[in-house]
Each structure stands twice: as structure tokens, then as C-alpha cells.
């Protein structure tokens, strides 16, 4: 009885007693969720267009952030470094398409998945070789990102919002909206959707798969760069950050592998659920439950909807 009380009544009473703390926790979860969504977005873009489950997305994020900081350390002005990094991401997309995807076209999914592991290893080694393995701090000031915090006096207490987090959320929103516009309205966006629908049909109306793949990998690279800047600003830029990418897996699965809105909603559910769980129920289990809670939340949703929240319905034929 005491146990049930501790699980169901205790945390709720805590939430009602200190609404400002609850709001703070939800905000933290929201910000983490936005960043998870951005990583998941990179996965979804590539999965939709090329059917590749790109494990290297996390490492692309770290690699992009590392290139940016590394170039700046070598004396390149911040904005030039940013543009150069975008150029590097384009080169990377080109190289991956030419050297990895094209020779492996029409292989089973798991083989392509495996190939992105090869890319991951290569990029870790390459990044460390160029810029060294030590953690670096993100150049937030030089990129004119705000620091400091906004204090909101609501709900009978104080809720602190980091300006950086607000910027991150705003940029994520702009990015998602512009991607949605890009997909719906532009010529290339339509071609992308056609490829996502059916490779052969798209080819038969004259869409070049190779070109489309370079474009999606490049887009995913730019998303990775934005994510890398904000994760890098919250902690250091090092290859340890790739653990965050593993967190994006439940987000992705929860939202459905092929859905952009799914990635966003999934990210927010996981982010907020994880922080609330850790804060209110974590102490019951001795803490640190953040490491696996996300997977169990995703699993619970999956048992009800095996294709994820927004995924395409799985139709099986014999």
C-alpha cells in the first residue's frame, strides 16, 4: 500500500505543491525534446528518401560541431567557419553518396545500416585526426548566440529559462517550418517526396536518385550542424556527445520512421516524459533512470501502435 502510495500519490502531490518546479521540469524536458527531435529529423529525412537507417547521424552532428570549432581555433572568423562547415557537410554528402550508397544500391536494409556504421567509425577517426580528441567548448559568443537567463515569476515561484534554450527552440521551429515549406512547395521538395514514395516510379518520370540522395544527406548534415551547435553549447563538443544520438532512436521509433511531425511529437514526448520521470519517480528507484526510461516509453507506445504514432500503416501481404 505504501509502495502504491509512493508511486501514484506522492509525485502528484509534489507536483501540485510546487507548480513552479513542475513548470521548470517540463521546460527542461521540452528543450531536451526539441534537440532530440532535431536529431530524429535528420534520421527521418534520410530514411524517407533513401531507405537508409543512418546510424551516422549522431556522429555527423559531432563532426559538424567539431569542424566549426576546430576551424575557429585555427583562426578562421566564426561566420566564415560556419559557411566552410556547411561546405564540408556538402562534401561529406557527396562522398557518402558516391563511395557508399551508389555501390550498395538495392541491398537489404541491414547492409546499408551496417555501412553507416563504417561511416561512423571513419568519421570518428577522421575528426580526431584533424582536430584532436580533447573536448572543446562551443563558440556561442562568436556566433552571436545569447547567454544568460530569463526569470519568469509565475505560479507562485520562479521559472528560469536559458536564453540559449529559447533560441534553440526558435531555430528548431524555423528549421522545421522551412523544411515543411521546402517539401511542399519547391521542385526539389516534390522530387524528394516522389522518391520517398516509390524509387522506381520516381526514376521513370526522370528524377535522378543520385542527386536526390546528395541533397537529403546534405540537408541532414545541415540539421546535424544546427543540433551540434546547441548540444555543444549545453555541454562540450566531443565524441562523447554521440550518446545523445542513441536517445534519438526511441524518439524516431515512437514517432514512426517516416514521419517528420512524428519526429517532433516523439521528441517532445520523450524529452518531457524522461525529465518528469527522472525528477519525480527517479528517487524511488535510486536515480539514473533517465538512461532507460525513454526506451520503455517508446516500447509502451509501440505495443499499442507497432508502426509508431505517425508511421505508415504496415500492410502485410503473402
Amino acid at each position: 500500500m505504501d509502495l502504491l502510495r509512493a508511486i501514484f500519490i506522492g509525485p502528484l502531490a509534489q507536483m501540485i505543491a510546487a507548480p513552479d518546479l513542475l513548470a521548470q521540469t517540463i521546460w527542461e524536458g521540452f528543450v531536451a525534446g526539441v534537440l532530440y527531435s532535431l536529431i530524429a529529423l535528420g534520421f527521418v529525412l534520410i530514411f524517407k528518401a533513401s531507405g537508409v537507417f543512418n546510424f551516422a547521424q549522431g556522429i555527423m552532428m559531432v563532426f559538424a560541431a567539431l569542424t566549426l570549432v576546430g576551424l575557429h581555433e585555427k583562426g578562421v572568423p566564426a561566420w566564415v567557419a560556419l559557411i566552410l562547415t556547411i561546405a564540408v557537410m556538402y562534401g561529406l554528402a557527396l562522398a557518402i553518396e558516391r563511395l557508399v550508397l551508389r555501390p550498395l544500391v538495392s541491398q537489404p536494409d541491414i547492409i546499408l545500416f551496417m555501412a553507416t556504421f563504417g561511416v561512423t567509425y571513419f568519421l570518428i577517426g577522421f575528426g580526431e585526426l584533424l582536430f584532436g580528441g580533447n573536448p572543446k567548448s562551443m563558440i556561442t559568443k562568436e556566433l552571436l548566440l545569447p547567454d544568460g537567463a530569463v526569470d519568469l515569476h509565475i505560479l507562485g515561484g520562479k521559472v528560469q529559462l536559458q536564453k540559449l534554450d529559447i533560441t534553440a527552440a526558435a531555430i528548431a521551429l524555423i528549421m522545421v517550418l522551412s523544411l515543411a515549406w521546402f517539401f511542399q512547395k519547391t521542385r526539389i521538395g516534390r522530387a524528394l517526396r516522389a522518391v520517398a514514395d516509390d524509387h522506381q516510379a520516381a526514376q521513370s518520370v526522370g528524377i535522378s536518385l543520385d542527386q536526390i540522395w546528395v541533397i537529403v544527406w546534405f540537408t541532414a548534415g545541415v540539421v546535424a550542424l544546427a543540433t551540434g551547435i546547441f548540444w555543444g553549447a549545453r555541454s562540450d563538443v566531443s565524441f562523447a556527445l554521440q550518446v545523445v544520438a542513441l536517445k534519438a532512436l526511441p524518439v524516431l521509433i515512437l514517432g514512426g520512421l517516416t514521419s517528420v511531425p512524428g519526429a517532433i511529437v516523439g521528441g517532445l514526448i520523450i524529452g518531457v516524459g524522461e525529465k518528469l520521470g527522472e525528477f519525480y519517480w527517479g528517487p524511488l528507484l535510486g536515480g539514473g533512470i533517465e538512461s532507460w526510461l525513454a526506451y520503455f516509453i517508446a516500447l509502451a507506445f509501440l505495443l499499442v501502435r507497432p508502426q509508431g504514432l505517425f508511421g505508415e500503416r504496415i500492410i502485410e501481404r503473402i
Partner: protein, 358 residues
């Protein structure tokens, strides 16, 4: 010309269905076993046994376990590392509670514990498929790893939070703990690995293996021809986790000597997955070949600069090793997406018809 079936007459059904139907294959396997059991322990030095052969065999066994699940039954698992951990911690607990019982009994028993946990986490596989199933196994990976770190009962409440292997003897010789010689540990590892590989080979060539492959190729169709999916999938999870658990127990007791929860992290899961993809999904031989490539390639790459007389500092070598490993994985996949085992099949076919093209 020399390597072919022609002239070998099968007089019984059993002979026709043998795993190695060609005489030269049987000689080859016998030769490998003789070298492994007699020549290597007699002439191998400590470095060769400790860093190359023992890990190779243990990782091969884990890869066989994962291959039964992923390669034969088509269920993707990213929780191999954690199930190895279950085996290791179970073996440690059983060993410290009943120290008088033979260690081999506990290594096998820890496989059973791992099988039980595997079945538990295998339950969602009935509803969830493909990459979506990977998240269920990731849940197992992170939850179990958290348990290893946070449940003090598992490490007998010691302060370090790590498990340490006590010395145990077999026929009067120490096989585990710091006093055991590499040769003894190698022989014990080899015996278990060879026996379990033989059993696995028999399982997959028999009724159960065919059932699993039917489920892999299309589970609804398999259900329609009368295969009970619940049983088939859970059996695959159980047998696979058993193999992986035994490998985990051996990893700590016969290779590391001590282990922290971090030893069973997700990198280990991925490493085992690489082995079966590079080696060949759905092949016992592939598990060995993949383990050889993934485990021995970095060791070999590290040894190269010293051999050719280049002096490069250690960090640089690590970075280059990572890059080359990544590039080689991609190269292997491009050359033969079905793995090294398929390459071996092709070579065998060529040998069979030699000197004619077909």
C-alpha cells in the same frame, strides 16, 4: 578436381544429410581441431593466447548466439552486450553463493538465467518488427546495464562495484582467477566453444532451424503453414540468449578476470552485430570469420607500423585504426554484401568444378 562429391557414395540418409558431405571438408575440420587443441596451446605464447585466441573464441560464441536470433530468425537485437552481462553477473552470483560446485556447471547455468531474461525481453517481438524491434532490445540493453551499476546485491555489496573472479580449479588445475595459465584457460574456452558451435550447427540444420528460417523469410506465411510464432520466436530468444550468456560468463571468468558494468555497454552489442554482418547472416562459419575480422583486424593494424619500422604515436595509431576499420567495413560490404561466409561458398563452388568454369 580433387575437391568434389564425385566418387563419394552415400549409402544412408544420415550420410547424405551430413553437415560436411565432402570428405575433404571433414579432413579440413579435423585438421583445424587438431591444430586448435594440440598445436596452439603447446606453441602459442601468452600474448597470442590472451589477446587473440581466447577473445576470438568467446566473441565467436556470442556471435553464434546473435546469429541464431538475427541471422536465422530475422529478429534484430541490439542488446547482446547486456545479455552477456546477465551471464557474467549470474555466474558470479552463483559462484560466490555455492563456491564448491564445479565452475563449468555455473557457466552453463548462467546461460539459463540469461535465456530466461531473454525470453522476457523477447515477448514484444510478436507485435513489433524490424528496426522497431531494435528499440525493445535497446530497452533491455540500457535497463540491464543500469541494474548492473545500481543493484549492489549483484556485486555482493562490495565497494568497487566491480565483479572479481575467484580462483577455481578443474581436475586440480586452476582455470579461473589470477593463477590460471593462459593455456588452461584457452583449452577450457576452446572445449566449450567447439561443443556449443557443434550443437548450434545441429540445431540450425534440423527441424528447429528450418522453423526459424521460415519465420525469418516471412512470418505470416510461416504461421499459415502451421508454425507457432510465439513458440518459434521465444525459442529463438531463449537459445540465443543462452549462447550469449555463456559467452558473457566466459568473457569475465576466462578472459577479463574482473569486470565493471561498463564492460557490457552498447559498443559490445554493436561489435557482435558487426561480426555477424561482416561474417554472414545465417551462418555458423560466418560467426567465426566475422569475429576474426572484427577482433583481430585492429590488433593487426596496430602491429603494422611497428613492423615496417614507422614510429607513430599511440593516439594517432588509434585514430588511423578507426578510420581504416570503418573504410574496410564499407569495402567488405561492397565486395560481398552477404558476408565472408558467402565468399567461402563461392570459392568452394569454384574449387568443385575446377579446372572447368562451370
Amino acid at each position: 578436381m580433387f575437391y568434389r562429391e564425385a566418387g563419394e557414395y552415400k549409402t544412408t540418409y544420415a550420410a547424405d544429410m551430413a553437415i560436411f558431405p565432402i570428405r575433404q571438408d571433414r579432413y579440413g575440420v579435423a585438421l583445424i581441431l587438431i591444430v586448435a587443441f594440440l598445436v596452439i596451446p603447446a606453441f602459442g605464447n601468452q600474448f597470442f593466447l590472451n589477446t587473440m585466441m581466447i577473445p576470438f573464441l568467446i566473441l565467436s560464441l556470442a556471435a553464434i548466439g546473435l546469429n541464431l536470433l538475427t541471422g536465422y530468425t530475422g529478429l534484430l537485437s541490439l542488446g547482446t552486450g547486456a545479455f552477456m552481462g546477465v551471464g557474467a553477473y549470474a555466474c558470479y552470483k552463483l559462484e560466490t553463493i555455492f563456491p564448491e560446485v564445479n565452475i563449468l556447471v555455473w557457466i552453463i547455468a548462467s546461460g539459463l538465467v540469461s535465456a530466461l531474461i531473454g525470453v522476457l525481453f523477447g515477448l514484444p517481438s510478436l507485435r513489433i518488427k524490424g528496426f522497431y524491434l531494435a528499440v525493445a532490445t535497446l530497452a533491455a540493453q540500457f535497463f540491464l546495464q543500469w541494474c548492473f551499476a545500481r543493484v549492489p546485491w549483484l556485486v555482493n555489496y562490495n565497494d568497487s562495484g566491480a565483479i572479481e573472479v575467484p580462483t577455481q580449479t578443474l581436475f586440480g588445475l586452476p582455470v579461473t582467477g589470477p593463477t590460471a595459465t593462459p593455456a588452461t584457460r584457452y583449452l577450457v574456452t576452446l572445449t566449450i566453444a567447439a561443443a556449443m558451435a557443434w550443437i548450434a550447427s545441429n540445431i540450425v540444420h534440423g527441424r528447429i532451424g528450418r522453423m526459424w528460417m521460415a519465420v525469418r523469410d516471412m512470418d505470416i506465411a510461416a504461421e499459415l503453414i502451421g508454425i507457432r510464432l510465439l513458440r518459434a520466436k521465444l525459442l529463438a530468444f531463449a537459445v540465443s540468449s543462452f549462447y550469449v550468456g555463456v559467452a558473457g560468463a566466459m568473457m569475465v571468468f576466462l578472459w577479463f578476470g574482473a569486470a565493471e558494468p561498463e564492460a557490457f555497454n552498447i559498443d559490445l552489442s554493436f561489435q557482435i552485430l558487426f561480426m555477424i554482418i561482416i561474417g554472414g547472416l545465417g551462418s555458423i562459419l560466418g560467426a567465426f570469420l566475422g569475429a576474426a575480422v572484427i577482433h583481430l583486424m585492429p590488433i593487426a593494424l596496430r602491429a603494422v607500423p611497428a613492423m615496417v619500422g614507422l614510429s607513430i604515436d599511440a593516439a594517432r595509431i588509434d585514430q588511423l585504426t578507426l578510420m581504416i576499420t570503418g573504410a574496410l567495413i564499407i569495402a567488405f560490404l561492397i565486395v560481398e554484401p552477404h558476408g565472408l561466409a558467402r565468399l567461402w561458398q563461392t570459392v568452394k563452388q569454384k574449387l568443385r568444378v575446377w579446372p572447368f568454369p562451370y
